[in-house]
């Protein structure tokens, strides 16, 4: 990260944001003008613009996009989508997008900024004639009493009255203490205690502070944040507002991925409604629209993105709570984390804490993809068994050999291990998996895992920010190794693959390069028979090559 660029971008503030200017301007002259206006070099503007898929990346300016996310890949729907699109668009006008969050019905694609999925491809003519809209629908099921995240918000004004009232009854410290005592942990995947984070931000010294909502739900297979942003945006805004009040921030930024156009529209609408309420603590919201870069889901890369810098992962410390957005103290949390705040304040920390296993408290949203008979959003109490969820979802719609849980960097759970898992951070960790953001997608029997391995390396190579050596180089080399094995050019060398995975796991700067070895090692461990033929004979006996850390 550059302190200079952050400070220079801060001069113009969020309303004339460097990133948004870069996002919108395309010509050479326009970019030079931006550099001049922000007192940064031309290279800074060009460097940022060229990072993003949809600004100057190879997928920029396409007329249609085909989803190539893990779920659509496993569902096998995309060849049909592509051939449908090819009847209307030239090959060169069709780009790729890594997950539109339509994993519950797959066959996802985007045209003119609108997302489609499921049967939509069959009525492409009508869609292009603007006679049809997407017929998307999914189940929203609370598998728990007294749902926290899926309960309806009927009266918006009344919903916010809770905090208006509490402000008059309790001190900031008391309210902060409630968040701490609730045991709420970050729902983005890392599981850091939210109250502790907010306390650190509240204690940090800064003339300005920020609340940032990480709504860059990039994990292919995940759409629970999209659900909250579109159907319960006030739960998110409420949480950010409370965070702002507690840490002393006046601005909340929602960084929403470009692939979720409806989320952006619906949040904008909710912000307008919020503004009508004219609450006592002056706080404003700003939506920053992503531009196609998975790494922006990493918190420091996300902050750099908002600043207009290349969204590269920053070293920590300093942590965002002390030096975050524009170098100022920043509380950055996931959508679902913010969405839990209202319930905690309404029902008390103890009530929240009582749900779950004491270490993982409250409830968790799960996004179930189309491999389930009843895909959709499921809310469960922490510590609910995975098999109960599968049962509630009606089981699988086709033969499945594994579940990929927690995004591309989450563990690959063989069906044999399903009964060993409960939905909480601890259980997954103990079994060598990762709860992550708790998306669950099924890997059908028909999906060769060697190809899924290539897909995982390919995804990492495509989305690596390129900063740390192990991820930048390792993901590409891994992809090549697997591809060579599939093409029977060169069989896998288990020692070299083990070295590569260990190098990425131990050496990478962030969870992308550091995380992708997990599902690959899961494959090697649990599906050694299936992948053995792709290894050199001399070391086939040494598969599985790995122990899980």
């Amino acid at each position: 990260m550059s302190k200079n660029i952050a400070a220079l971008a801060r001069r113009k503030g969020l309303d004339d944001g460097l990133f948004e200017r870069i996002r919108e301007q395309k010509s050479h002259q326009q970019k030079q003008q931006i550099a001049k206006d922000f007192l940064v070099g031309d290279a800074i503007v060009q460097g940022s613009a060229s990072f993003y898929d949809f600004i100057e990346g190879e997928n920029a300016q396409k007329k249609a996009y085909v989803c190539n996310g893990s779920s659509c890949l496993c569902a096998g729907t995309q060849p049909q989508v592509l051939s449908g699109l090819l009847q209307h668009f030239h090959q060169d006008d069709i780009g790729h997008v890594a997950c539109l969050g339509r994993c519950h019905e797959n066959a996802s694609f985007q045209i003119s900024g609108e997302n489609y999925s499921g049967d939509d491809i069959h009525q492409l003519d009508r869609i292009l004639d603007q006679q049809a809209e997407s017929g998307e629908d999914y189940a929203v099921v609370a598998l728990c009493d007294n749902p926290i995240l899926t309960a309806k918000i009927t009266d918006t004004a009344n919903y916010y009255q809770l905090i208006e009232h509490l402000i008059t009854q309790q001190s900031r410290d008391q309210l902060l203490q409630s968040i701490i005592e609730s045991g709420l942990r970050g729902r983005g995947g890392a599981g850091f205690p939210t109250g502790i984070k907010w306390k650190a931000c509240a204690d940090a010294i800064g003339d300005e502070k920020y609340i940032v909502c990480n709504a860059d739900e990039g994990d292919p297979g995940a759409f629970s944040d999209r659900y909250l942003l579109e159907r319960r945006p006030h739960a998110v805004l409420f949480g950010m507002y409370v965070a702002g009040y507690l840490v002393g921030a006046r601005t909340g930024v929602l960084y929403i991925r470009d692939e979720y156009p409806d989320s952006i529209d619906l949040c904008e609408q909710a912000i307008e409604e919020f503004e009508q309420l004219k609450l006592s603590y002056s706080f404003r919201f700003k939506i920053v629209r992503g531009a196609g870069a998975y790494i922006c889901g990493e918190e420091t890369a996300l902050l750099r993105s908002i600043e207009g810098q290349r969204p590269m992962v920053s070293t920590r410390p300093p942590f965002p709570v002390t030096e975050g957005l524009f170098g100022k103290p920043t509380a950055l949390n996931n959508v679902e984390t913010f969405a839990s705040i209202h319930w905690i304040l309404e029902h008390g920390a103890q009530a929240f804490n009582a749900r779950g296993n004491r270490k993982s408290t409250g409830t968790k949203l799960l996004s179930l993809d189309s491999v389930f008979k009843h895909p959709g959003i499921y809310e469960v109490d922490m510590n609910t068994s995975l098999s109960k969820v599968i049962e509630a979802a009606g089981g699988f719609s086709k033969p499945v050999k594994a579940l990929h849980i927690g995004g591309p960097l989450g563990g690959l759970v063989p069906v044999s291990k399903i009964d060993d898992l409960t939905i909480d951070f601890e259980s997954f960790h103990e079994q060598g998996f990762l709860l992550g953001h708790a998306s669950i997608l099924g890997i059908p029997e028909s999906m060769p895992l060697i190809e899924y391995m290539e897909h995982l390396f390919d995804f990492t190579a495509a989305e690596s920010c390129g900063k740390c050596f192990p991820c930048r180089l390792g993901a590409t080399r891994g992809k090549e190794m697997v591809r060579n094995a599939i093409d029977q050019k060169q069989a896998l060398d288990s020692e070299l693959l083990t070295d590569l995975l260990e190098t990425m796991e131990l050496g990478s700067l962030c969870a992308l390069g550091g995380g992708v070895p997990l599902p690959i090692k899961n494959i090697l461990q649990h599906f050694s028979d299936e992948v053995r033929p792709f290894f050199q004979l001399k070391n086939q006996s040494s598969i599985p090559v790995t122990e899980v850390h």
Partner: protein
């Protein structure tokens, strides 16, 4: 209990490979290990920059307790913690490092043997250290096909060798502050770009070379292969361009210079320097170098031997002295030369000739600073050190363009400004620092005193003065305050053309800052009210208590490498070595005792008075050492005419300059690369200059030339030797008392240097040199130039320097810098261009009451309407043909900055 806990907290330790060591607050594991001389390999770390964490080669194995769970972390960005157990070399770590470097080598050419940096390549070193035997990966995608970029006169890139460590990008950002480099794309295809993804030559690169210096491989380098190990010798010396005093490391082989780099451990420049210091050194053996003495015979300069030249000079000087008296002879010393040489030059004049007619180019630049600060504080030098830029709360830059004229200091200032350090820039031109400043007071040239008085008014009005400081440390406040209070802000605002509310806001911000540092340059001094402006700056510093502490002070940005030293050594007509006034009998006795002869007691000629005396026939002989007055002094035609009226002109030079062309004897001197001695930079730092090569051809070290003539004139002086001369100087110049050649070390010492060798980074901490600091009030006065000429010549031309060239350009024009900038350009506001029907890049004729020049015009909003701006580096353009003989009232420093002109486009 409490006691043992205290002991524990005061002696926190961490363990490296089992051994306990005390830790220091705020350090990373890598810094901790380095402090203990424990080597940890790394590729992306440069200790001068923020930890970045990209290569991961510095990974170590860490446990929080001896048997606790172990974790691999990158040592460069992981803070050390009490009780940590660090293993730097276990098998897991060794394997990780080896595997990372193996990955790097999958996308790196394996042609070490023919590579420019072989033997000095960090990747090569680390690969050898971690023990790479082979690259096991099959050949895959790579970037070995990236083409080389050889577009630029100096900079080179070969990105096939890039390892994406981002050190160049960070150096361009964190060290130079230029943001010319970035990276395009992402992931595996990330690629270093220049500007809008163009070549070095087409990018706005300022060629500082910071990227080349930090690049661990040959991915970014320069034309001179500065990272090659071909050189057999490395000589550490000091740059001879501006007064920043950058340390240089000169690579030499067979008495020839191959390249120059900047030592990373230099206090002044920490591995940084500008394109002048790093790349503009090829003048030293340029074919234009004078290599033989020349004597004018039959109006032609003919090659002669040194003995012939010396005899001719001695005879002429003796006969002129005999016929007209010693005061018919004068000398101009050189701020480009060493302290020792300047000392000798003034000694030649005062002791061997017997006149105080000795001056130096400080006259035309910072004489008002020396004079003004002596009046206010008692010492005419920077009160603080450049390192204070890092800690100050407020920066004020007045009449200076430091990113061009003092690039390394300018970069340090810019770094603070970019990060939002509150700041004021007072300058008629929108300079680089002005773009980043909080307040830019873009005044009309010649109105500095008006703006500074306005600032004083608003500080007093807002009751933000430091009354304690004023009461205890200063005198003259009441008179000053009442004069300021009587001023009419609207009137002054009209005069200087700056909105009074903006001035008020800026003044209040300055006064409220806990510490505020001011810097000024020739935009302050080269005015008819130059000395008065300096004193007005001192007034602001004193009234806000910004003197005598870290991060405050009045800090002139000295223009030439040794202009501070030339004045320190006594190259001025009213003060001898060490600034003792020569008209005081006490000092006369002092010098007499030191030199063993009776010295002249009347104050000698300042440079402009020398021209005047030549015109009047009073001055017959002039000896100029290393200064091209014919090009650099104002009112060119008058200067040339004056020099021609002399009976005898000696010019000691390295090139056949405009001045040398007029000489009767030309003596070929040596450049800084060929001599040893000391330079004193703008923060009073006396640093050792060491000869990298011997003087070329038949040239001599300038100090030796002066000594040879002194000896012929009957004054015995041993051969030139910095150690011996410094010893003599330390006995004459009080603030050099403890300066010894052998003790200067790599980073020199800041004067005053006490007898015990201790030096001084901040002046006036307890008392001022003059006792109390003195307030001086001055009315703003319009320059005579405007009063006399603005009706006929309604534009104001102001001149300055650019980054690429240095003063008269004698040196820089004979280097690759000429391929970057090869002419002086006139900046004109769009409104004026429209009104005068001048097209962008058209040739315009600029004319004043003195003369005219033709320049290429560039339409620019860097100047306000009515103001024109140019540089004065090129003799073909001879900008000083139009400048005037107006000068600072107190010191006769020429008023370069306010010239009444008019202009028209040449058909």
């Amino acid at each position: 209990m409490a006691r043992s806990e205290d002991q524990k907290s005061s002696q926190q330790v961490a363990f490296i490979d089992g051994q306990p060591y005390a830790i220091e607050a705020g350090e990373t594991i890598l810094q901790f290990a380095r402090r203990l001389n424990k080597h940890i390999p790394t590729l992306c770390d440069d200790p001068r920059m923020e930890a970045y964490g990209s290569c991961r080669v510095c990974s170590v194995d860490v446990a929080l307790t001896v048997d606790g769970p172990r974790k691999v972390v990158a040592s460069c960005h992981t803070p050390i913690a009490e009780g940590m157990h660090i293993e730097t070399e276990n098998s897991r770590i060794q394997k990780l490092r080896r595997n990372i470097v193996e990955l790097v080598l999958t996308d790196h050419p394996l042609d070490c043997l023919t590579c420019e940096v072989s033997g000095n390549c960090e990747l090569q070193d680390v690969a050898a250290e971690v023990g790479i035997r082979q690259v096991r990966y099959a050949e895959g995608e790579n970037h070995l096909h990236y083409p080389k970029d050889t577009s630029h006169p100096y900079m080179r890139s070969d990105l096939s060798k890039c390892i994406n460590c981002y050190r160049c990008v960070r150096a361009c950002d964190e060290i130079q502050g230029e943001l010319v480099l970035s990276v395009a794309g992402r992931g595996f295809d990330s690629r270093i770009i220049k500007g809008m993804d163009t070549s070095f030559d087409d990018s706005p690169c300022v060629s500082c070379g910071a990227c080349a210096q930090t690049c661990p491989t040959a991915a970014i380098s320069d034309k001179f292969f500065s990272k090659s190990v071909e050189a057999t010798d490395k000589v550490r010396t000091v740059c001879s361009y501006c007064g920043v005093g950058c340390n240089l490391e000169v690579s030499v082989k067979n008495n020839e210079i191959l390249s120059i780099r900047a030592p990373n451990d230099a206090e002044v420049n920490a591995g940084h320097t500008c394109l002048k210091g790093r790349y503009a050194w090829r003048f030293y053996n340029h074919s234009d170098r004078l290599t033989q003495p020349l004597i004018r015979k039959n109006n032609q300069l003919i090659e002669a031997t040194w003995d012939e030249a010396y005899d001719f000079i001695a005879d002429k000087l003796i006969s002129i002295k005999k016929q007209y008296g010693a005061d018919a002879i004068a000398g101009i010393s050189s701020a480009r030369c060493t302290n020792e040489e300047n000392y000798l030059m003034q000694k030649l004049m005062r002791v061997a000739i017997g006149t105080n007619n000795i001056d130096s180019c400080a006259r035309v630049c910072h004489s008002p600073t020396a004079y003004g600060m002596q009046q206010s504080f008692g010492t005419g030098a920077a009160t603080n050190s450049i390192k204070d830029i890092k800690i100050t709360d407020f920066i004020m830059v007045i009449g200076a363009n430091p990113t061009a004229a003092h690039p390394v200091t300018g970069a340090k200032i810019k770094q603070r400004l970019m990060k939002g350090c509150p700041s004021i820039v007072i300058d008629p031109v929108k300079t680089e620092v002005a773009k980043y400043a909080t307040y830019h007071l873009q005044l009309r040239p010649g109105t500095n005193v008006a703006v500074l008085n306005m600032m004083a008014y608003y500080i007093i009005e807002a009751d933000l003065v430091d009354q304690n400081f004023i009461n205890s440390r200063t005198e003259g406040w009441q008179d000053y305050e009442s004069a300021i209070r009587a001023l009419d802000m609207d009137e002054l605002s009209n005069i200087c053309g700056v909105d009074k509310h903006l001035v008020r806001e800026a003044a209040i911000a300055y006064a409220k800052a806990p510490t505020a540092m001011s810097f000024h340059g020739l935009g302050v001094t080269e005015h008819s009210q130059g000395s008065r402006t300096v004193m007005s700056i001192a007034d602001l510093a004193m009234m806000t208590g910004n003197i005598g502490r870290p991060g405050v002070g009045v800090n002139p940005l000295r223009g030439q490498n040794n202009v501070q030293g030339a004045a320190d050594m006594g190259c001025q007509p009213h003060q001898g070595a060490g600034y003792l006034p020569i008209d005081d009998p006490k000092n006369q006795a002092y010098y007499q005792k030191k030199y063993g002869v009776e010295l002249p007691t009347n104050i000698g000629y300042k440079i402009p008075q020398m021209y005047q005396a030549a015109q009047e026939g009073k001055l017959k002989a002039l000896w100029i050492m290393g200064e091209d007055v014919a090009q650099s002094d104002p009112n060119h035609h008058y200067v040339v005419d004056s020099l021609q009226k002399l009976e005898f002109l000696v010019v000691q030079e390295i090139f056949f300059s405009e001045t040398a062309k007029l000489a009767d004897v030309v003596l070929p001197g040596a450049s800084f690369l060929e001599k040893s001695g000391t330079f004193t930079n703008g923060e009073r730092r006396i640093q050792a200059v060491r000869a990298a090569v011997s003087p070329i051809g038949n040239t001599k070290v300038d100090g030796q030339i002066v000594i040879d003539v002194m000896n012929r004139l009957g004054v015995t002086q041993p051969d030139y030797d910095p150690a011996g001369l410094l010893e003599e100087i330390s006995q004459v110049v009080p603030f050099f008392a403890g300066v010894k050649w052998a003790e200067l070390g790599d980073n020199g010492k800041q004067w005053p240097v006490l007898e015990d060798g201790s030096d001084t980074d901040i002046l006036h901490t307890e008392t001022f040199k003059r006792g109390l600091g003195k307030f001086h009030y001055f009315d703003w006065e319009e320059s005579n130039e405007i009063k006399s000429n603005s009706t006929s010549f309604p534009f104001i031309l102001t001149t300055s320097r650019n980054l690429e060239h240095y003063n008269a350009g004698t040196m820089t024009r004979r280097t690759g810098n000429k391929d970057i900038v090869n002419e002086d350009i006139l900046l004109i506001h769009p409104d004026d261009a429209h009104r005068k029907q001048i097209n962008n890049h058209a040739t315009v004729r600029i004319f004043s009451a003195r003369g005219e020049v033709k320049l290429k015009a560039e339409i620019s909003d860097k100047v306000k309407p009515g103001i024109l701006y140019t540089t004065f580096h090129f003799p073909d353009d001879m900008v000083n043909a139009v400048t005037s003989s107006e000068a600072d009232r107190e010191t006769l420093c020429p008023e370069y900055k306010v010239v009444s002109v008019d202009l028209e486009q040449v058909a």
